[in-house]
């Protein structure tokens, strides 16, 4: 699929609509440069679960957990990983169980140590907006 996202609102809406397609667990890869809208997408995704609070960047903490509507949602940012193997040392495997929804930014930093993605989203800069490919 290819979708042009004119503004932040459009990215939020895409997150929201994709979230509605996941009735149980799943793994979503989020690809795109700094500032492409990956965290904005996650904010929209969480809105589908009626969460309108702060969505802190997990760059520093590696993962930010959300427990919403009896769902487990994990927002990863692997930007700072130096070696894919570090994910294993961090005990991240425990997060990837069948009921958990995992949204993973910078998945290529952990190549070979992540489960297969159910959906892979690419966000590119296009004019003033973004182009979403998934």
């Amino acid at each position: 699929m290819e979708l042009f996202l004119a503004d932040e609102e459009a990215t939020l809406q895409l997150g929201k609509s994709i979230a509605q397609q996941f009735s149980s667990g799943g793994v979503i890869f989020l690809n795109g440069d700094l500032g492409a809208g990956k965290t904005t997408f996650v904010r929209g995704f969480l809105m589908a679960f009626n969460y309108y609070g702060a969505v802190k960047s997990p760059t520093y903490t590696l993962v930010e957990p959300y427990h919403l509507a009896s769902r487990e949602i994990y927002h990863f940012d692997l930007y700072r990983l130096g070696d894919p193997e570090e994910l294993e040392y961090a005990g991240c495997r425990d997060y990837f169980h069948s009921q958990a929804l995992c949204l993973i930014e910078w998945p290529e930093k952990a190549d070979g140590y992540l489960p297969k993605a159910d959906l892979s989203l690419n966000l590119h800069y296009q004019d003033e907006g973004r182009l979403a490919l998934y």
Partner: protein
């Protein structure tokens, strides 16, 4: 009461000895910044493996410097959270185990309480109550410190921390890590008034922050420019000015809303000269603790822990790091 403080929540392994009568006796730190510079940020598991290697020699060196022995300790304070689990585990394990072995009490310290109380290590101490602006790579928040142990979060970043915005912007502009000093240095050659960057969330009430949009705005501006060294400097300056102004506006609001007249700046971004100059224009007593007490350090943990231990608080002999630990829970 002689207390050993241990800090290992992120990329610094730090230890200190604090005596409730004599004050700070010694403090030592091993920074992993150079190790992480290669990757442009903290590498969580590299951090924990490095803590394991550094923490015991650091404690030994610290005791030697102060001419004291483990047997003379009356208590141990360690950072139990919030932070990176692997890194926290190191300080928590060694702190709790040493206390058990020595038969002395140990107390889990909240990393942010350490930061909030770090200014109390300075003479003269800031007057309570005070407003603390904590700005670092992992945090941006304004806290009202009514008295020791009573903290109220007035506002915080809803997305990226200010230091993180500096780091990411520096990376986008091809400057070094850590981003704060790199941007400040480049901004010196910048020309004022060429760009007008947004001051996020200042046009609505409240003291929350958001720096993610500013990061994106900076990137877009950079991409549209000719990308010369001069453009880089101009954009670095515009970005820094926007962050500083935003922090200034929020501090002013926090002081007004609490009718408080004391402001304390903690966290690594507090080292930024432009920020210091602007905040000094506020109609308040503004204190900047020494930089070594602004960034992660062992002294603040030893100090915060000593206050709790002196009140008779201590933890059971159980190892429980808390990667997520809201400060309001204290």
């Amino acid at each position: 009461m002689l207390v050993l403080g241990i800090e290992s929540s992120c990329d610094e392994s730090a230890v200190a000895l604090y005596d409730t009568k004599k004050g700070l006796l010694a403090h030592q730190l091993y920074s992993q910044v150079e190790l992480h510079a290669e990757y442009g940020g903290v590498v969580p598991e590299l951090a924990s493996r490095d803590h394991i290697r550094k923490i015991t020699p650091l404690i030994q060196g610290l005791l030697k410097e102060a001419d004291l022995t483990l047997q003379q300790l009356d208590g141990i304070a360690y950072t139990a959270g919030p932070g990176l689990i692997g890194a926290l585990m190191v300080g928590t394990c060694i702190g709790r185990s040493l206390a058990l072995g020595l038969g002395i009490p140990a107390v889990a310290v909240h990393h942010m309480e350490g930061h909030l109380l770090a200014p109390m290590l300075e003479t003269p101490q800031p007057q309570l109550p005070f407003i603390a602006l904590l700005v670092s790579g992992g945090h941006t928040l304004l806290v009202e410190v009514k008295q020791i142990g009573e903290y109220k979060i007035l506002g915080e970043s809803l997305d990226d921390a200010a230091g993180e915005a500096f780091d990411k912007t520096a990376k986008m502009l091809g400057l070094g890590y850590p981003g704060g000093p790199a941007i400040a240095e480049k901004a010196k050659q910048g020309r004022e008034g060429l760009y007008r960057f947004p001051r996020p969330m200042t046009n609505r009430p409240g003291v929350d922050f958001s720096f993610s949009g500013l990061k994106t705005f900076t990137l877009t501006t950079w991409q549209k420019s000719e990308q010369t060294e001069q453009d880089k400097a101009d954009i670095a300056l515009a970005f820094q000015t926007a962050v500083v102004d935003t922090l200034l506006i929020k501090c002013k609001r926090a002081l007004k809303q609490t009718q408080c007249h004391n402001l304390v700046i903690a966290g690594g971004v507090g080292a930024n000269t432009a920020l210091r100059e602007k905040l000094n224009t506020l109609d308040a007593t503004v204190s900047f603790p020494r930089l070594e007490f602004c960034t992660d350090n062992g002294a603040m943990i030893a100090y915060a822990g000593s206050l709790r231990l002196a009140k008779g608080e201590h933890e059971e002999a159980r190892i429980t790091p808390k990667p997520r630990w809201p400060i309001a829970d204290l």
